[in-house]
Amino acid sequence: MTLPLLLALQDAQPSVVPADTAWMLVSTALVLLMTPALAFFYGGLVRSKNSLNTMMMSFAALGVVGVLWALLAYSLAFAEGNAWIGGTDNALLAGVGTEAKGTLPHVLFMAYQGTFAIITAALISGAIVERMRFGPYLAFIVLWTLFVYAPVAHWVWGGGWLMTRGVLDFAGGTVVHINAGVSALVAALVLGTRKDYSRQAILPHNVPFVLLGAGLLWFGWFGFNGGSALAANELAALAFTNTFLAPMATLVVWVLLDYFRTGRATAVGGATGIVVGLVAVTPAAGFIGPTSALLLGAIAAFPSYFTIVARSRTRLDDSLDVFAGHGIGGLTGALLTGVFASKVWNPAGNDGLLAGNPGQLATQALGVAAAIIYSALATFVILKLLGLVTALRAAPRAEGLGMDVTQHGEEAYSTGEGSILVMPDTSATAMPARALTPQAAS
């Protein structure tokens, strides 16, 4: 969303437009689906003994962050406030009714923005999987949403200082991806490496899950970028098409890089390439033309690809490469927005470097730098304070046994062999039985 667009939304005579409402209803559901999709993407990449825990980290954000969004975070991000943070006018959803906000019912605008807050918090979990205790993780995403996501969303979209300076971030390259990517990097550093990291091979337990997740993310991303037009109009169609094209180019380049480097095109690489392309086009989607989107997608493959290659040789256990994918991908996209943006495609946007306005690139860099510095510092402080109150990490023994059993008391792929049914009414146990079969449960 750009400043002129937002001002236009605010100045217009408030009336709900049915076509816009219809598209945004669909978009909200699409973006919400991205969080379960992320659960599959991340869940497939970890070992089977941690797969439920990893997926629950995303699913839990649907509950915890969603409720928090309605109670307070929406107001801090989007209610009128100062340049740094919104006010509390809309806390507890006060004043959020079916009246028009722009051309949408206000409740729908709130719900749509809430889906962004949810997935942004869930994205961070990829850096700390297989070792962070579930309780402290929940506490972390609550604090992070309040103290990091809400302010940064306000800066860029809610009328804050970056918006005033004309930073172009169509659908959240800075707010969502750089923000989550940098926080992930800091979280990985604070938590430390998994005990098995660089001592034994840690392999993805279900690569089809990873592909399933990447596919569903792409599907949901049409709502993420297409919906960020906040209307069913030409701009939505442009953002939608760019979201269609850019990841295709990234996928092709990623596969070719795989071929040249290792001689084989990997499925995990393909899935990662799609996500990186989606991340990179996010800030640019409504500001650049379709051929620029293809170029942007192709270019974006390189920095993320080689960051992953380099990272995996270090002691930095950003387990699922959230920083390489979202931090570096978001950074590349945000800067390339300043290169490819053109008023020919979006008169409410701005021209970039190629259209003769190099200043936009500097403005983009300012937005990126602000997000990186704030999000790194705030995440560090939140985690250190939480660490004073409770242990962030599971004990090595629990980590070895697996987070599914130790944090959730469940296994992803239990056969039920060797389990004894505990009768609910007495303390006595039944004969050894296959507890998961209907006979045993009755």
Partner: protein, 120 residues
């Protein structure tokens, strides 16, 4: 010439393999098995059904070794698999009647890896 059979925790397998490698013990068989050594039951809950997982996943290691390597092998397994909690597992050392190496037809002491140091 002995057959060493050990049942250990799956999450200690890597440590045991490292210890065996350092002890220069080569050649082994690993099987995933179910069992328990009297450790506290793990309780899991599925849709309101509470179950105790009495049988835990364990890993069984089998290694045929020549006499000079028996102690080193046992020590490596003990050091790698030890956590100090109930359920660490057992090591059994069994006498072996005959051993044949299929590839070469060598038998007994010559067929187990590694050979006695004196022959190296």
């Amino acid at each position: 010439m002995k057959l060493i059979v050990a049942v250990i925790r799956p999450d200690r397998l890597n440590e045991v393999l490292e210890a065996l490698y350092r002890a220069e013990v080569r050649g082994l068989t690993v099987t995933r098995v179910l069992g328990h050594g009297g450790e506290t039951d793990r309780v899991e809950t599925y849709r309101g059904t509470t179950v105790k997982m009495e049988l835990q996943e364990k890993v069984r290691i089998e290694i045929g070794v020549s006499e000079p390597f028996v102690d080193a092998t046992v020590r490596a397994i003990l050091s790698g698999a030890h956590t100090g909690e109930v359920g660490d597992g057992k090591v059994f050392v069994l006498d072996v009647g005959q051993v044949h190496r299929i590839r070469t037809g060598e038998r007994d002491e010559n067929a187990v890896t590694p050979r006695p140091l004196t022959e190296v």
